[in-house]
Symmetry: C3
């Protein structure tokens, strides 16, 4: 199963040769990872990773959801229960169960990421199977005990130039401070994610709001609340943040008068906002955040369209982020209009849009990003961070929005070892796309080299102001 | 026009060679046909087919709709009028009219199925045209008079291991009994299709309901009605059924309390349910059927999203199933939630979802099937049972749901001769897809052989419990 | 950057060779341009084009929107402000600004059209860049002063057999009359576009309506209004029109009783129709127009689904058609039903449907056009008039609707020089599509030759009754 040097390149030999040349030019570029979910404590504490199951299986909802869909229980994969009830804790047992079902991943990006990590990080070129499970477990277990496998060593080995984490607005960013205080050279920056203090329907919202106001010393008024955000954004910026991130169920925005917004906030504060008002409030806050971005220069990311926790009994047992978030039809044309009416023509603002509804690419997102100076398109996200997904992204956006209204690649992952695998996949798929344009003479090869570098490195760095 | 051995394979020679190898390994596998609309009387009575027009044209809405769209009248193709008014009855005249318009089918699967049947069943390698119409008619007419062209002989010649028909819940399954009583070796099983006794808006519903209760000796209560279904399901199961099928306008499900469901049933029974209540009742019955499947093990199929009889004047003249059913936008994420909340986590239940809205594959269906243990994805259906449709199905589902949350191929046809043609097309297109994954090193060729067998045979057999 | 003879053909050599043969057979066919937005005064007056910026940049919203999306101001591209405030007027300055940003168009059809025009019209094979800007400007400026670059000379050089313009229902068609009076051989026909007198929400509607009635001498009644349309349609037909065109926000149609329609018209006339009534009126008028087409034989085009003037501040500054129209989700199945119920089964009527929502192709449009005798599918439109867009159009419509329910190509442009470039692109992409069907043996090459001619020429000519 050793990784083939031509993987993910077009099969037609002439086109493959072009793709190979383009890829060779960008394969070694540093990784700019402007959006993801790695744990900042890894960089601060530089502890070894615990075991193969914790490294590859238990926390990875891509891995556990596939097995769950085929009847494997999450507790048997070591996923903790909210009740505290016992779950499987033997990493080898979990690993064997995963190995037994590994054939399910044929044709998926999870399989490609996993095998890229096995080979490039651990030198393993055997496929995982019930027969090889123990050998692979032993090799990985032995390797992660070595200093070369610590987070900071891997950071260098992976060629990471800069990585952004995603952090609650209430986070003290102590791990980020510790990284900076340590004198280590790695660049790790936070991202301001205020959902917990913006979404009235999030669990614990009232307490979160109280804490936000307390930690900034602001009054419980609309003006105070906005100031509190400004203060926290500044706090994040002082620690290197260049972006904010907003995960809402829809892309709805609002642009109420400040008086109406204040009245709505008062209801939200009092816990009297109904579902429609909560939704309006979230929409209003996207526009407020965009206005703050006009002032402080933070790039704004909007990740809409996921129906979170679709499976209530699974949620009751295991909590969020266990593979039960399902994409929904997502409108942008009407939803974003209030925000765009307010700030869409500002070329100094950057709002990066993501989608889980691929139909929006050619119909809405490329036309919007190909017009509004403030808009850019984030890369293919989540279920679409895959060879076919990335290909469709380019095929449905480039003709209308070009390359320069896109922002390169985001790995968006909490799986540290998959970072180089994901960037490598994106570079290969983008080079394959460019090679096809060269092969049918839509681009010259010379300019394709320039574009390959932009897609792999330049666009992300510039768009995220890194 | 002789069938090319490499048809539907990728053009790139290396990839084509892989596809050819994969296809050779599965081309001769038996046909498992777990969902379709052949007439059980064919197997019971084993009579010769009447004439070439009746075999290929008049009953085939794929064929007649294309000619109708270009101005040909259905009565001139022999389609019976509800009024009893005369229609064309000379099969040769109908055949010639079809031949005159046969160029319309260029690029369609209908053309490929038709020519596959001509060559493999009748040894005809001439293209149908006004010039060849009579010769072909004569050859087919002569052939269908021979014993080799009787349904049972073709069953063996086609290599059918098992075929499922689709039968009204009220059907006495006499033809199925006759098949079994005859001692013939062919395996023909019924499928429980209760739409006529579940959908309050179907014509004749009140009488159907009465008949259902009468034939099961159940009371006209909610409990009696559910028991009647249970009894009929058992009756079908005794005759070999392994599945139920549900064709609703939407995928809406409900999970009312039993008291509310009983009250709703009372309204339905009294003929007082309005459109919204009828819709709720259909939704409730999907969940009830899923619960019964948990008990009796019948696999449940849901075929939603067709706007039936979109053309009222055509419907008035010719009735249903005449090519005027049009797909609609279909939601699954919200629609299925009540059913999934109730039974979605049961790994012993199998609910197979179909769609006519391809946008749902990557956005909703693959994410749902890649999570819920009870869900699997049916193959590309109806308008999408085609080379491009099947390719898009794999490209938009595999990366998220893998291969093992899909269920192989359904021919879904009432055109007996097209069965081997359709399975052959599906095997070719799936092998072409796998070959592309091998060619760009997403799969090893060795595992692609295993998957090709699963897609052609194994998955259908296991998913439908055949 | 010289145009490669194999551009837009499949990379696989065997398939490319087929595409090349097909293309050679159709490359030289005359251009039938049945729908577009060229200015009839060009043909009437045959004046030279003013300057390179006016020819290629300032009036072309494909060009200006891309630069605007990257922060360039429209006034700096010479786009006039409604306020009359000064904008850039030096064509060379505008040209240089465009050159500086020309790299943005990599991968877009705009780039391909532009370079096709440079080479085939001006003999320029250098890529536009800041370095080459002045040289190219000078060459183009010199060329457009020559008689060979006048509109009528280009008409012949482009091989245009017939071109349709799009004209307001209120237009006196004086330019069309002048063309005919001039004795010039070029065939230029008008198209009846009544939006300004059909849409109560269009600015100036009341005055438009008054003018319509005045110019036809009809009474301000529903019957008079319909007669006025009939008179204007006849006026257009006398000047060569074979088609009407309707650009609505949605595809909604209505089929009210004539009494209800008259009452609705009275409200519209009085300026008392609210938004819902205005929408119903537009819907009713589509059905009325279809009925008039049954009488007078004009082909009806429906172009729905664009959210016009999405950017209000840009609209306030610069007016409509400045790149701020954004596609929307568009339903056809329910929206068209009233019209189809009324006239859909008439094989003598031709209604050509367009979409900006590609999801409708396989789900709704191909199934509708593959059934209703009155319906045909227009080519990939606007943002989708591109290599990938045209490929997706064929891949998602052919299997269900075939080729003969489509109508060839529309260039739909106001950019005169892009007409041959656009037809050339469409011919190449269609030949590439056909070549793929030949390469995998879905079509014989011989019949592909016939189809290539139909797609390039025959279908448009027949569908538009030219």
């Amino acid at each position: 199963m050793a990784l083939h040097p031509d993987r993910l390149f077009p099969a037609e030999p002439g086109t493959r040769a072009i793709a190979r040349r383009l890829y060779e030019a960008v394969a070694g570029l540093p990784i700019v990872s402007p959006h993801g979910h790695t744990d900042p404590s890894w960089y601060a504490q530089d502890k070894p990773f615990p075991d193969p199951a914790a490294l590859f299986i238990t926390p990875d909802h891509y891995a556990t959801r596939m097995l769950y869909s085929q009847g494997v229980k999450l507790q048997d994969l070591g996923v903790a229960r909210r009740s505290g009830e016992a779950v499987e804790t033997n990493p080898r047992t979990i690993w064997r169960l995963f190995a037994k079902h590994f054939h399910l991943f044929a044709g998926t990006p999870t399989r490609l990421w996993f095998e890229h990590s096995l080979e490039t990080v651990f030198g393993i070129t055997q496929r995982l199977s019930p027969e090889t499970a123990d050998v692979l477990f032993d090799r990985i277990e032995a390797a992660i005990a070595t200093p070369e496998m610590r987070p900071r060593a891997l950071f260098d080995r992976f060629g990471i130039e800069v990585i952004a984490t995603t952090d609650s607005a209430l986070d003290d960013l102590a791990h980020h401070d510790a990284v900076r205080a340590s004198g280590w050279h790695g660049r790790v920056v936070p991202t301001y994610r205020p959902d917990a203090v913006v979404d009235p329907q999030v669990s614990g919202f009232a307490g979160n709001l109280e804490r936000l106001l307390a930690m900034t010393g602001e009054a419980a008024t609309w003006a105070g609340y906005l100031n509190a955000h400004r203060a926290r954004r500044a706090f994040f910026q002082q620690r290197g943040a260049t972006a904010t991130d907003h995960g809402h169920a829809t892309a709805r925005t609002e642009n109420l008068s400040q008086a109406d917004a204040a009245a709505l906030f008062a209801k939200v504060l009092a816990g009297r906002a109904d579902a429609a008002e909560a939704d309006a409030f979230r929409g209003q806050m996207l526009t407020e955040m965009a206005r703050m971005s006009q002032d402080d220069g933070l790039v704004m990311q909007i990740h809409p369209g996921s129906y979170r926790n679709h499976n209530p009994s699974l949620f009751a047992d295991f909590g969020p982020d266990k593979g039960a978030d399902i994409p929904k039809v997502t409108d942008y044309v009407l939803a974003l209009k209030p925000l765009l009416d307010a700030v869409g023509n500002d070329p100094k603002l950057t709002v990066i849009l993501f989608t889980l509804d691929e139909t929006a690419y050619s119909r809405e997102l490329a036309p919007l990003a190909g017009h509004y100076p403030a808009l850019k398109l984030g890369p293919a996200w989540w279920f679409f961070d895959s060879p076919e997904g990335m290909r469709r992204f380019r095929e449905t956006t480039t003709e209308t929005a070009g390359f320069y209204n896109t922002v390169g690649f985001n790995d968006d992952t909490r799986a540290y070892l998959s970072i180089p695998a994901r960037h490598d996949m994106a570079r290969r798929v983008d080079c394959a796309y460019l090679a096809r344009l060269v092969a049918d003479h839509r681009l010259d090869e010379e300019e394709a080299f320039g574009l390959a570098g932009e897609l792999a490195y330049g666009l992300a760095k510039r768009a995220y102001r890194l």
